[in-house]
Symmetry: C2
Subunit: 344 residues, 2 copies
Amino acid sequence: MTTTRTKRVSIKDIAERAGVSISLVSFVLNGKSREHRVGEEIAERITRIAEEMRYVPNMVAKGLRSGRTYTIGFIIPDLEAPYFAKLSGIIEREASVRGYSIMMGSTGESDTRASGVIELLRSRGVDGIIAAPNHGSRDEIERVASEGVPIIMVDRRYDGADIATVTLDNRKAAYEATCGLIERGYRNIKAVTYRSGLEHIGDRVDGYLEAIAENGLAPEVFSADYYNRRDGIGRWIAASMSGPDKPDALLFMADILCVDGIIELTGAGYSIPGDVAVISFDKNDAFDLFNVPISYIEQPHDRFAEAAVEMLLKAVNEKEELTADKSVTIDHRIYWRGSTPVCH
Amino acid sequence: MTTTRTKRVSIKDIAERAGVSISLVSFVLNGKSREHRVGEEIAERITRIAEEMRYVPNMVAKGLRSGRTYTIGFIIPDLEAPYFAKLSGIIEREASVRGYSIMMGSTGESDTRASGVIELLRSRGVDGIIAAPNHGSRDEIERVASEGVPIIMVDRRYDGADIATVTLDNRKAAYEATCGLIERGYRNIKAVTYRSGLEHIGDRVDGYLEAIAENGLAPEVFSADYYNRRDGIGRWIAASMSGPDKPDALLFMADILCVDGIIELTGAGYSIPGDVAVISFDKNDAFDLFNVPISYIEQPHDRFAEAAVEMLLKAVNEKEELTADKSVTIDHRIYWRGSTPVCH
DNA sequence: CTGAAAGCGCTTACAG
DNA sequence: CTGAAAGCGCTTACAG
């Protein structure tokens, strides 16, 4: 394997071998034979030679010339979070089916890294962007949109921004989950969330508060620090579960919070649902593995991914603007399982 | 937001505004002022104007001209598998720190899709490839390598292929895990794997068989069909656990197999470790959540990712070949926890 | 039906 | 110290 980097074959090479001009090769290889009325035998010869030479088009050159890279940028907080890993996987598949590839950039919820990712995607000339950006990236995301790069937000949204989104009706989902707990007989329902300023998380809290208020109950929301979740949740659980105002049910606003919560609860000797019922946003494989199946509010990844890719590519191809009025809401579904039995 | 797609600013725009040639702009913006002895005031002016105009270099043009795209291709079986999600996340971060972006393609363990991904990455002109390819993609991977595209395999390897790898010593890890079980008093240890032809999985089975043979015990390996894991494992567990040759410990060759196994075991009413001890390859969040912590053999994702990115970029920059002798072995670590107590 | 030529944005010898 | 020009591989009017 002492092969030196062999030059890739170009349309020029094919043209030479076929004894025609590069224009003809380009026409044929792009399926424009008919349009340009290229001679049939010539077209066949070109196709055959291209195959023989294992021609792979240089998308970089194509991209420079045509301004289209057939690449979609995807901005996520964290590829390691199961929720986003799943979403990324499906988006990648949906895109690849349509001939697009994905360039991924994760922000780690850091605004600085988000800036870097955005600039990187712009420099790479992606045709469009699907983003689940930080709260603090609003200005930059809006600037990208105003510069005419098609962009669509997924999972997250900015209050009042004129950008199309694909989201759950988070307020309603949390409202329904809370009402469901109340119907099942729970009366002291507390919510666990994390500080972030993220609108969609705020929507969930709003839905919870609304349901609690409507039913004349007392709300309590614990906000963990994102980077010290486990500790914060652990301390809060210790205090809360042993205090006079012990909750009978917990609503977690994200699966990662719930996983931490379950570990802390069981670690402190509390049983689910014996001591406290548990329901969480997002689906997480661990919810099936726990000794009682954890109830959850599902965000259908596949529908998010499909909608986002489809809408984005439509905008790219038809030069539409992805304004807020194009936004789509995906239906959630609540799975009531062993962690939230009916009580009396 | 009725902005039409505004043209991006190019070095030509900057040159015009600065009243100089594009060469100068190129020199300055690429930090070659000194090298080309560009006038100091001019250099400053160019830098300032570039910032004012929010210049973002067109990497597509750069890529066409220089043949370098500052993009790494990453081929994985499945982004949704926690193990690869984690690995991808770290690789992306490592690459981005070094100014590279990642173009990801998942194969779903399908050779056809793998072909598509490889061609896509080649057409995009990635500077190098990190791959955890299918068993069946060997020829294509070797061809890519022989064409001079730097490529390194991670997690997986091909028997006797002259391609650098970053892997665990899988045989040794399985050997040690099996010996550990034997030391803890287990005598009827069975292994659960899946059919794939993948060398690294085969290595694990070899290590298991070696340890069993050395200790004069009887081996049994169950091979599930990858796409019907849960069912297959469930049926095998039902038969195996109720038969005369009931295992006292199970070694799972991958976390996904173990998760399925645990669900099937508990579903069938067996307790861990009461009825059977369990240890698995890979770390999985669910292993912490189960009512007894599951023992596992850790593959350190971060060290895999760092080694792969570093070696690949070194090869890219120094035009080295990534031959098999450059391969690196990452140390595993076994966590013995509640699912494998000492028994007598 | 086919080819020569311009140009996408950039880098880099080559002149001066 | 600075600029004009070629060329990366491709597409696409424009001629013929």
